[in-house]
Structures are given as C-alpha cells and as structure tokens.
C-alpha cells in the first residue's frame, strides 16, 4: 500500500513508529495530486510549499518525541495532544485559511486571502495537521454535483464521466483518489453525506452546533454543519475528537460535553433499535439502491440490531421547506459580497447563486414572508417533531443517502429541480439539526452508493458505533477506484 492510501489511524502509527516521515507522507500525496488533479480537478489551490514546510516541522516535533510503549514518557504526551501531527488534510475551499486563498468556488472571491483561520482550521492545525490544499466545490456550496464551481467541475475518481456529488465535490474526490489522508466539508442539505456516498467514503455531518462554523463561509446559518470525509468510521471519530467543542466565536455551539468518540467503536450493535422510515423506501428509489439497502438491513440484523419500520410523515415536505429557508438565508448571507472591501464585484456571481438570491429575496419580501418563510419554519418544526417522536422508540435511523447512484456530468445541470431532489433523503437531518453519517453500502454498475445513519442530537458516538460495526462486517470501504 502506498503512503497516500493510509487511514489517519495507520498514518498515526507509522509516523509514531518512524516507519516513514511526514515529509514522505506529504510528498506521496503531492505526487498523486500532480498526477491526477489535472484530470479530476479536485483542488482549486494546492499548498505545496506550505505543506512541505508544515511536514518538516511535524517531523522535527516527531523526532523529539520518545515513545515509550508503557506510555510513561512525558514527552510522548505531545502526540496525545497533537493526534494529527504530520498528517495531510485537504480543506473544502469554504474554510477560511489565514494567508491561503479561499474562493468558495466562486470568481467573486478569485483573489480573496483571509486574515484569519476558521476555528476548525485552527483546531486541526493545532492538532498537527498539514494543510495540503483547498478543494473544489459548487460555488458557495450551491449544488449537489460539483458542477456549479466557477473553477470547473470535479470528476468522480470511480468513473470520470460521473459527478462526485456536491457541494463538497473536491474533498471526497481528492480523498478517494488518494491525494490526501482526510478532507473537510460542509453539509447544509446533504453536501457531505451525498458526495461521500458517491465516492465510497465515510462522511460525517455532525449535530448542528457541535463543530464551530466560525470562519467557514456561511451558506445557510441555521443549517450549516461542519464535518469531514474519511476512509473509515474510526478516522471520522478521530477527527471529530479534534473539531467538536463549544466555541466562543460561534454563539450556536452549545456547551454539551464532548465525548471520546473513538471509545465505543468496537462495542457492537447487539440490541440496538434501528428505525427504517417507510417514506424513504417508496420515494422514487432507484432499484439498485433499494436492493443494496435491503441487503444492508439484513447485514445489520445479523449483527444483532433490531429493525423497526417507522414513519417520518413530513419528509415529503422537506425539500419544499428547505428550498424556502435555504435561499432566504443565502440571499442575506451573500449580501456582504459586494466587492467594496474585498473580492470582485457582484456581476461575478454565477447562475445558481443568482437564482437563490432572487428566490430568497422574493420569499422574504413584505407580503410574502408569512406565506413562504413562516410556513416553511412551521414545516421545519413538524419535521423536528417527527424525529423526536421516532427517537423515543428507536436509537437510530437507517436510510439510503441518495435515491439514485451517481449521475453523469451534465445530466441534471440544466434541470435545477431535478438536482434539488437528489437531496430528498438528506435535507431533513439538516432541518432537524441532527447528526448523520454516511457509510459505503456497495456498488451499482461499479459506482459507489451509501447509506446514512441518523441519530438524535449529540449522538455521534452511537453513530460511530453502528457505522463501525457495519463497516467491519461488510468492508465495502476497502474497495478502491482504478485510477
């Protein structure tokens, strides 16, 4: 196995036991980027110089450590505090990185260089992560395929004729194509879970507020959730251990205790009650996806989980409510990009951003607010109630991530409504603020598909426990694309 194909866990161990250095690991990733990025277009900015410098520093820190197997050496504690020391991570280009261009995938921010790091970027840097580059995305995170990027579409490493999913398109493509060891994303309506499922990766959308949004360019303030892509569920838990916490710079992060998310990974799922929403199975679900989903349910049952059919009756209104609330907030959040203080002028906004600004401005206008926004907020309350009711009966919910396997580039780009409907199974988790994890569930004609596990707010630990059990039993995640 090449260094750039390692999991975080494997990289940690290799660096610790000095099997390889951070500079070797980083260079392996950079080499892969050089080889494949011109085709796949996963990165908008590659931070070669910064990455090599950070890797060299990481190697110095690693060299000064003496790892006593008994764990009695105090200097060894540094690595405990810096679990990502020397590990290359790619960031969705929506995360503010001090001194590194941050474009949001839009020409409006073609030359915008932030003066500060997003809280999450700071945390990952403090944990020792090496920033390898900034990944492509649908401009402003508007989209489900990555095709709305002003810097060109990203291709799916599994089949270059297909989309990798979006809006976080470059992050999963980069990881899937072995250009980094993990990558970050944002999930507002499914933008982590959907592309993770299209690229055979684990994608985590944490509880709203679990991870600070500070410094991550806002799409929808009430829905944005900051998460990541990893090769395994364990890696996902390792990253959340670093990123989750109340932040003084984000008033929407509550003081709920942060758990040790790797603790329950091997606990198994015997007796855990899992709800399967009947509404999800009937909604124009692709046959392959349905078959795979049914197989997955059997696998889980064999692992000792108890399956129960549940109902989330307001699911069908999810997309409608989402496409009122989301453009409304988008229209307000994009108002600061006026080209006066930074960035380029508003004429540089692309079609999708303009569409959402217009929609949102309209629904918030006097005389329409009650009919649209207020009503959508009422639906949102009903969706939250749906989940509350269900979580009194079951521990977690299982559902396909996307109703269809990955689609071809260009297939939906001229039909926005069709594109919007690909989020039908994911948006409700955002509206309810609950966490979800997407894990590989098999393949359809050689293209990956995934399922999501949803839980009550702040139940990430349980999601990792279930995801890990399923992953270890099925090993879908171990399959690699032919690059």
């Amino acid at each position: 196995m090449n260094l750039n194909q390692l999991t975080i866990k494997q990289a940690q161990e290799g660096l610790k036991s000095k099997k390889f250095s951070s500079i070797e690991l980083t260079k392996a990733c950079l080499k892969q980027i050089k080889k494949l990025n011109p085709k796949i277009n996963a990165f908008i900015t590659v931070c070669e110089k910064e990455a090599i410098e950070a890797a060299e520093n990481a190697d110095k820190s690693l060299a000064s450590q003496v790892f006593d197997p008994e764990g009695s050496d105090r200097r060894g504690e540094t690595l405990e505090a810096r679990p990502l020391l020397g590990i290359p991570i790619a960031f969705k280009d929506l995360f503010s990185t001090k001194g590194i261009k941050t474009t949001a995938g839009s020409k409006v921010l073609n030359d915008y260089i932030p003066v500060y790091d997003a809280t999450v970027v700071g945390k990952l840097k403090d944990a020792g992560a090496v920033i390898i580059g900034k990944t492509n995305l649908d401009a402003w995170a508007h989209g489900s395929s990555g095709e709305n990027s002003d810097f060109g579409a990203t291709l799916n490493p599994w089949n270059n004729e297909f989309v990798p999913g979006g809006s976080s398109s470059g992050s999963p493509a980069a990881l899937s194509a072995d250009m980094c060891i993990a990558s970050t994303g944002t999930d507002t309506g499914g933008s982590i879970r959907l592309p993770a499922s299209f690229c055979n990766l684990v994608g985590l959308k944490p509880t709203y507020g679990r991870v600070s949004r500070n410094g991550v360019l806002a799409m929808v303030s009430s829905l944005d959730s900051i998460g990541h892509f990893t090769r395994t569920v364990e890696d996902s838990a390792i990253l959340l251990n670093v990123t989750a916490k109340k932040d003084d710079f984000d008033a929407t992060t509550p003081g709920v205790d942060v758990q040790n998310y790797t603790k329950n990974l091997n606990k198994g799922i015997k007796g855990i009650k899992i709800g399967v929403p009947k509404e999800y199975v009937t909604k124009g679900l692709d046959k392959h996806v349905q078959t795979k989903f049914e197989e997955a349910l059997k696998d889980l049952e064999e692992l000792g989980a108890i399956m129960e059919e549940i109902s989330l009756p307001h699911t069908e209104y999810g997309i409608a409510a989402y496409y009122i609330i989301q453009p409304a907030e988008v229209s307000s959040n994009l108002a600061r990009y006026d080209g006066i203080r930074f960035g380029s002028g508003r004429e540089n906004f692309g079609g999708e951003a303009k569409r959402r600004i217009m929609l949102g401005t309209y629904t918030l206008s006097a005389g329409y607010y009650d009919a649209y926004y207020k009503k959508a907020m009422k639906v949102r309350t009903l969706i939250i109630k749906d989940f509350d009711t269900v979580f009194k009966k079951v521990d977690a919910i299982f559902a396909p991530v996307s109703p269809t396997p990955p689609w071809k580039l260009g297939e939906k780009i001229n039909d926005p409504l069709k594109m919007y409907l690909s989020d039908i199974f994911t948006v409700t988790a955002n509206l309810a603020g609950i966490p979800g994890i997407s894990v590989p569930m098999g393949f359809s004609d050689g293209l990956p598909i995934g399922m999501q596990i949803l839980g009550p707010q702040f139940s990430e630990s349980l999601l990792f426990q279930i995801g890990s059990a399923y992953e270890q039993a099925t090993e879908w995640h171990k399959r690699k694309p032919t690059l």
């Binding site: 929407t252 307000s332 108002a335 203080r341 918030l364 206008s365």
Partner: protein
Amino acid sequence: MIYKPVIGLEVHVELKTKSKMFCGCSADYFGKKPNTHTCPVCLGLPGALPVPNKKAIEWCVMIGLALNCNIPLFSKFDRKNYFYPDLPKGYQISQYDQPFCQKGFIELSKEKKIGITRVHMEEDTGKLLHQGDSTLIDFNRSGVPLVEIVTEPDFESAIEVVEYLKKLQQIVRYLGVSDADMEKGGMRLEPNISLRESNTTNTTNKQILPIYKVEVKNINSFRFVEKAIAYETERQKEILESGKTPIQETRGWDEVKNRTVSQRIKEESMDYRYFPEADIPPIRWVESQISNLKSQIPELPDAKSNRFKNELSLSIYDSDILTKDKETADYFEEAVKVGKAHDINPKQIANMLINKKINIKNVLPGHLIQSILTSTQTTAIDENELKKIVKEILEKNPKAVSDYKNGKIQVIGFLIGQVKQTFKQPLDTDQLKKAIEKFINTH
C-alpha cells in the same frame, strides 16, 4: 381650522459598554484613528459570526425596566437587510417582532404620560467620510451597541418632546449605561410629525391618527428638534389648509437653511426583508434574572427629586436642579449627611450649591459644610459695631431712607450694599437687612 401636532419619537442611544455588540473590539470609537477598532466580525469578513454582548443586552433591559416596560421572557434578534456601504454584512442585526422591552411609559410634568412602544437592541453602522471625489469608510463604529426607544404618537408639542428627551437622557445617564452625548452622536433623534384637526377625537375620547406621517432624520440637538417640529407644523398646516394631504415621507433637517428637506417618499420606502438571525440563539429569560436586573437599577431622577422635596423639605425647583445629574444628587446627599452633624439643614446646603454654583468636582462635601459654617459664623459679629455702621450709613443717605419710608422698599438693596462695603467682614444679608429695617422703623 385649528390643527394640533401629533408627534412620535424614535431615539437611538449608544451604550458605553467596553466592547462592541457582537465582537471583542473596543466600543470607544470616538476620535480614534479610522479602522483601528475592527476585526473580522465588525468588518463583516466571510465566515465571521456575531456573538452577543451580554452586558449590552442587560443594559437594554435595564433601560426598558426604567421606562416601565414589560420584559417578555422570550426575545430574539433579526436581520434587517439593506445595502449601504457603511453596513459591511449587507444587513443590520436588530430586533423586529420580539424586542427585549415592550409597552412602557415616561411621565412628564402635569402628569402627562408618553407611551413607550418598544425598546430594542441593534448594532451601529460604520461611518462614511467624503473626501473630494472619493468616499472612505471607517468601521470603528461598526457594531457599537445601540438601543432604540420608540414612543407612541403621544406628543402634542415640541415642549413635550424636549421634556421627554431630557428625561430620557437623564435616565440613561443615571443608569450609567450611556453618555447620551448629542454632539458625539451618542443620542440621535427621529421625530415623526403630522397634524390632526383639533376636534378629531372619537367616542372613547381617543385621538384619531392622521393618515400620513413625516419622519425627520439627522437631528443632533434638542434645539433642532424644536425647530424641526415648528417648521414641519407650519409646512404641513399650509398644505392642509390648501385642501391637500402632506405626503408620507422621510425628510432631513438642514441646519444651515433651518428647514426640512425631502429625502425619501413612501413609494420608495425600503423593504428590509426582516427574518430571524440564525447566528444568535433566541434569548430566554427566567423571572429571577429580570428581578435581578431590576434590583440593579438605582433610584431614578423623579423618585429622587420627590424624596428631596418630601424628606428634606426642599422646593420642587431646588429638588429638580439637584437631581439633574446623579453626581450632583449624590454630592448633595453626602453634604446633607455631613451637615447634619453641624446643624446645617438641607435647605442651606441646597442654597449654597445652587446660588454659589459650586463646582462639585473641586470642593469635597466636607469642605462645603465647612465653608457654610464659616459664613454663618461671620454673621455672629459685634452687634454694637454693626449698629454703629448702619446708623452712620443711614445718616449719610437720608434720601434713601425717606424713599424707603414712602414705600419704595427696593431701595434697601442699595443700603445693604453700602453697609457691606464699609463693614470689612462678610455679612449675612438676611441679618443685615433686619438690622437696617429695625433702625429705620425705630428712628
């Protein structure tokens, strides 16, 4: 036709918190080098989030409590969306339908109550500086906490408006939450003015509001608010008398030309597209928090003035002067305490403070009492010596004496002056006056 003004007020008061409303930058912006009190939050940089200033919210609630408002247990922030270069986010964080404080009042003299519709919290904008052809922006003021106090259209004259404004200014200063300094923009006034026919009241004796109103902006002194109201009253009266209705609009006060000028008519009025600010969770109070804030409110000017009048036997005039600002009132009370031990009564202290225009910053209350004591002691002079001089002076001025006897009693002032000039020691005027009267009456 007789017309009566119908006036409502919106007042913005800048709070003097250490830091800004939603970030850690210093809120003390006045006269500072441009753009030195800024950060990603108050510059509206991508990704930056507002974190509300707890102190500012508490102070807003305290203002509401001091204005007899209800404090709803649930409140939230909203976004007011509009474009202007001094507004970096493209929206102002304000409060729309659920402000911190609702339905209060301020009582003016003659028991007239002015209803307070609402008191809410928002953030200030940056400042545009026009230099020749270019315009620069200073964001030091961006995000400074502002409290907006909105009244019912209860005012019927500029006199009432000014009395209200002075009271409001006095209250926020007493609370110690704002300097409300008009010159520095710490207090900004926006009256809305219309006229109604003086006989338009309905059966419940409630006035019927006119169908239009004119809002006047850019007023930065109490004097200008009086002038603007007078100007508008005349302007609107002329229009009404010609059989037309003034248009609903926003006008600005032009302090050079002493007139209001049209800025924006109703048809062009903004649609601010208010919606809840998702970056800040709603505020939920429990009763004990509100009562705790209530307990932090000091004795307010009206109550203090009444107490001075009733308990310290001062005149209304003296009580009002002494309670004008909290520092003077506190000083006076301290002096009363010290004076008590020396048999100096509050009235004497009040006279001293008001008539002698004592600078309380330079004279300690103890010293003030000392000087009152000295001045009373100086009156305990040799009675015979005084008599001798009075006699001397009166004999020198027979004309004045006869004038006095003929009823021209004000001439005594002249005589007092003459005696004072001759007598080298300070004299108590009352005592001297009595001595002169006695001499004239017995001779």
